[in-house]
Amino acid sequence: MPTEIPDTPRVHRSLWMDVWLTFRQHTGALIGVGVFATIVLAVFLGPFVHGVDPTYLDLQARNQGVSFAHPLGTDNLGRDTLAQVFAGGRISLAVGFAAMFLSLVLGTAVGTLAGYFRRLDGPLMRFTDLFLALPLLPLLLVIIMLFRDTLRNAFGPETGIFFLIVFVIGITSWMQTARIVRGEVLAIKEREFITAARSIGTRERRIVSRHILPNALSPIMVSATLGIANAIITESALSFLGLGFPPDFPTWGRLLFDGANFITITPARVLWPGLAISLTVLSVNYIGDGLRDALDPRLRDT
């Protein structure tokens, strides 16, 4: 839907080049990329700089404040907080992104199909209602009971549980995205340009992928941002219930949870994991903003 004719003859650029050029002009997004890259680098390279084993219990150094040996102090078992934040970050980021991605794909697919194809709307939305209505905790208990040992035997205790957790979070959090996307699609498909596309014989699949989805991108991006925070926190709730990783396996959410009672003794235990989660979510939010602007056909050309 070109709205203005450019003054100068346009150089032909690919779609993605176009997106990148717009994205580059978005200060917030660039800062977001910077912060996010720093977090990822710190989490993966940090252990090489600060080589303390995150699970080693140093009983001589329990509940320590900031020191040279322990830059962020230690917890009540003498574990190094900095090393735990690094180790926890690797898991939390992996779980957060994988689970967000799964729930986003599921939610967008269900939402788009239900919104666009009237025949699918009823069954798919009732299916969504069913998932919304199922009590989460018993559902988790049952999933874990049925699949934990199988997956543990197949992939080992850590990888197996990783798949399980991503699956569990993804499968229990896609409904909100699905309903929001459906609402958007319902409105978009009645707009003029869709009618126009249809009248010139564009195939359904192309209408959905080229016209509907790009226009429903904003709420999807917001869902993605919120989904990461949600997945990181849900993971900690799962491990608290004993449905997640082994208890000596640090993750950001778990560090925050375990440290909460120690907030007046060693505030660093909750400050840093909390900050790490918030910064990750914030930077993803800005990246999402930038991407949305860059992918919006109306904004790109102006």
């Binding site: 709205t3 917030g28 009237r118 009823g122 939305m125 009732r126 209602d129 069913l130 919304l132 209505a133 199922l134 009590p135 905790l137 018993p138 559902l139 208990l141 049952v142 009971m145 409904m175 909100q176 309903r179 929001i180 609402g183 958007e184 319902l186 409105a187 009645e190 707009r191 226009n215 904003s218 709420p219 991006m221 917001v222 941002t225 919120l226 925070a229 990181i232 926190i233 900690s236 959410g253 925050l256 949870f257 909460a260 907030i263 007046t264 909750v270 909390g274 989660i277 918030s278 990750t280 979510v281 914030l282 939010n285 800005y286 949305r292 919006d296 109306r298 904004l299």
Partner: protein
């Protein structure tokens, strides 16, 4: 529209029955046990007998059929009797849905829990919406202004820091250090005059604020993004060029058209008011429906969990229908027939 609503309502009945079956099967499969909280000194034979006395020795389909009868026949009859003060049949012989932990009728417990949950969780929702919508609108209108940046920051931090943590922080600050607010909610407190109203406000303040922050964070993001989408559309330009006042353009045209995701979120959220806010209720000991549900799940109180989740399912189906109706009102181009 009327035809659409009737059709949806008729479709809702089989949906709900399917949901009730799914919930029942799920609870039956779940590895909890009603004798799980008894002291370990209670021997296994006694536990087995307790389970039998709760009817757990009967096969699955018998228990499900019993629950169905109690929920769809007996309890509505009781309600009718109470409402009109009449007696239909042998009402004292009619079995009611009884919680396993308390041995009392589930419906009575739920009714007892309603007030505090509606007060605390409902209020927090209202506040959440009241905060989120203006923030979302202004953030979008003045995109990348200081207001927007701060709003983004606060809402992202508000969403990514879980309520168990903000709640604890609030208690340490306002109850332990400043000693301004009570950390424990008194569910038996009655508001009779100004001073008791003040006590009620004080005990509601922390849980409501903690929850409202969380809800507002989420809602304001959707509001902002939807506004941004619409602000760039042609009709806005048209409206402006027609000489409409900026405020009218914003509040009448853009806001209305941006409400679809927000309405979806609110419709998804209203049933969760009734399901309570589990963590917040636990932290401040509000002991509403959320706390009831979690205690029941942990104690494997199946009749209570089943009834609560099923009522919750009814609300979900109902509010999703309301959302669909609202879509049609907000955007008349959307049709379902």
């Amino acid at each position: 529209m009327i035809r659409f609503i009737t059709r949806r309502l008729m479709f809702a009945v089989p949906t709900l029955i399917a949901i009730s079956f799914a919930i029942f099967a799920l609870l039956d499969l779940a590895p909890n046990d009603p004798t799980g909280q008894l002291p370990l000194t209670i021997p296994p034979e006694v536990r087995a007998q307790i389970r039998d006395s709760l009817g757990l020795d009967q096969p699955f389909h018998v228990r499900y059929a019993k629950w169905m009868e109690q929920f769809f026949v007996n309890e509505p009859l009781n309600l009718v009797e109470e409402a009109f003060d009449i007696e239909i049949g042998a009402s004292s012989e009619r079995p009611r849905i009884r919680s396993w932990a308390t041995r009392s009728p589930v419906v009575d417990i739920i009714a007892e829990r309603m007030p505090q949950t509606l007060w605390v969780v409902g209020m927090s929702y209202v506040f959440g919406i009241l905060i989120a919508v203006p923030i979302g609108v202004i953030s979008a209108y003045r995109q990348y202004s200081w207001f927007d940046q701060i709003g983004t920051f606060v809402s992202m931090v508000g969403f990514s820091v879980p309520t168990f943590f903000t709640g604890l922080l609030a208690i340490i600050l306002f109850s332990v250090m400043l000693q301004w607010l009570p950390s424990i909610y008194d569910t038996t407190h009655e508001v009779t005059d100004l001073s008791s109203f003040w006590v009620q406000v004080k005990q509601m303040l922390m849980p409501v604020m903690v929850l409202a922050l969380y809800n507002a964070a989420q809602l304001s993001r959707f509001m902002r993004s939807a506004m941004l989408d619409n602000l760039n559309l042609d009709y806005v330009r048209t409206a402006r060029s027609k000489g409409l006042r900026e405020r009218a353009v914003l509040l009448i045209h853009v806001l209305r058209n941006s409400m679809i995701p927000v309405v979806t979120m609110i419709a998804l959220g209203v049933p969760t008011i009734f399901s309570g806010a589990i963590i917040t209720e636990q932290i401040f000991r509000v002991n509403g429906l959320g706390q009831l549900l979690i205690v029941a799940i942990q104690g494997a109180d199946i009749p209570l969990v089943q009834t609560l989740t099923f009522l919750f399912a009814v609300l979900i189906v109902l509010f999703n229908l309301i959302a669909d109706v609202l879509y049609g009102i907000l955007d008349p181009r959307i049709r379902y027939d």
